[in-house]
Amino acid sequence: MASLEESKAQQMGMHTEQLLGRTQQMFFDPEQEDNFLYPWAKEVDFNKRGEVDASDLSSTEINNQIRTLLKSGHGSIVIKNPGAKHSIAVGILNRLNLTIEGSLGYFGVGLIDGPNVRISGRVGWSCAENMMSGSVVIEKNAGSTFGAAIRGGDLVCKGSVGSRTGIDMKGGTIIVGGDTGAFSGFMMQRGRMVVCGDAGKSLGDSMYDGTIYIGGTIRDLGVDAIPAELTELDRAWLTRKLSQYDLMPAQDVDHFQKIVAGKQLWNYDNLEPIEKKLIL
């Protein structure tokens, strides 16, 4: 990095401190034995299967039962009769195969880090909100703010989704087999969104970064969302990802439109303090 003393802003006395990142000193041995799990993760076996009949249980009771099964080493859990209850299967920070036979209400499978979830029905608002890693596959439709603030992992809805899909997403992949509503990708910061069908109005509005791929028509683009060229790497990635979830279109992926940020909204990074001082 060039010295700040050389900069015009520094010469004008607009700031005194050097705005650097917060580098964490490495304090682990890179040669240590392979360890792929968090220290607190439960040892589970994918072949050990457990079931929860949720028909007479509250959301809290269902979530507690999932944790109890995890503690006893169950790596595959089936939730029966979820009854579209809210906040089911949230906060799972473990490897796990979770099957939900039915539909979920609001905030289903939020805050997860690791599990592979399959939902045979529909989901309400904010499914997989703040998801960190793993995969979630929904066989039918999803409500609004699908994958809100997602940070990682694959979130797949084979049907259509509501508005504001992937709002504030900071990573990961959202795949929609059908259409998506208005303001999808609103304030997107990174990650990838793939919509095989059509997109509603103001797609990618105020997006800072990330990539949106649309297979159908786009009603209109939002502020600072601009078309970009689909590259060979994009095509290879789309083909692999869509095939993985049985969503590969018959006509291949060449028809997908790629949308990226125009990069006119760079005001959230470490320049902000400088900007403020310049204003003051």
Binding site: A2, A9, P30, S135, G153, R190, R192, L233, V260
Partner: protein, 136 residues
């Protein structure tokens, strides 16, 4: 390369940000800082470059690909190679003892491997936070 709007994709020299580069535009020269990330956040992984360690990791997790690690890249902080850890909201330096590969895709795979080793280590700061604040 994906992310054609990102100026980093126009950087041919993979060591550009380690040589103190990144202060290229008029605006950057004016403020003395690089604008944006020091890597292409939209660069999708080349699976031909995947390492054995990462293959074993995704197999254990039951995933078909790199999953959340697709968003992890080798970045450059203060002229040194580093990987960003979202769990601590900070950069983790790559030790000097590790030789950097030539290509960005290979460097990204190395960054992913280092990040997993760091996050799963008992010395990770999240362990202390968890002891202090965990609810279940």
């Amino acid at each position: 390369m994906a992310g054609s709007q990102y100026r980093g994709t126009e950087v041919d020299d993979v060591d550009h940000y380690m040589k103190g580069g990144g202060i290229d535009s008029e605006r950057e020269k004016e403020i003395g800082q690089h604008i944006g990330y020091r890597y292409d956040v939209n660069l999708v992984p080349d699976y031909d470059r995947i390492t054995l360690f990462l293959s074993k990791y995704i197999e254990l997790m039951g995933w078909d690909d790199l999953n959340w690690l697709e968003d992890v890249h080798m970045g450059y902080e203060e002229g040194k190679p580093a990987v960003f850890d979202r769990n601590i909201n900070g950069w983790v330096s790559i030790p000097d003892s590790i030789n950097l590969p030539e290509g960005q895709q290979d460097r990204d795979m190395l960054a992913r491997e280092m990040l997993i080793k760091f996050q799963m280590s008992k010395q990770h700061p999240l362990n202390d936070l968890r002891k202090a604040y965990m609810k279940f």
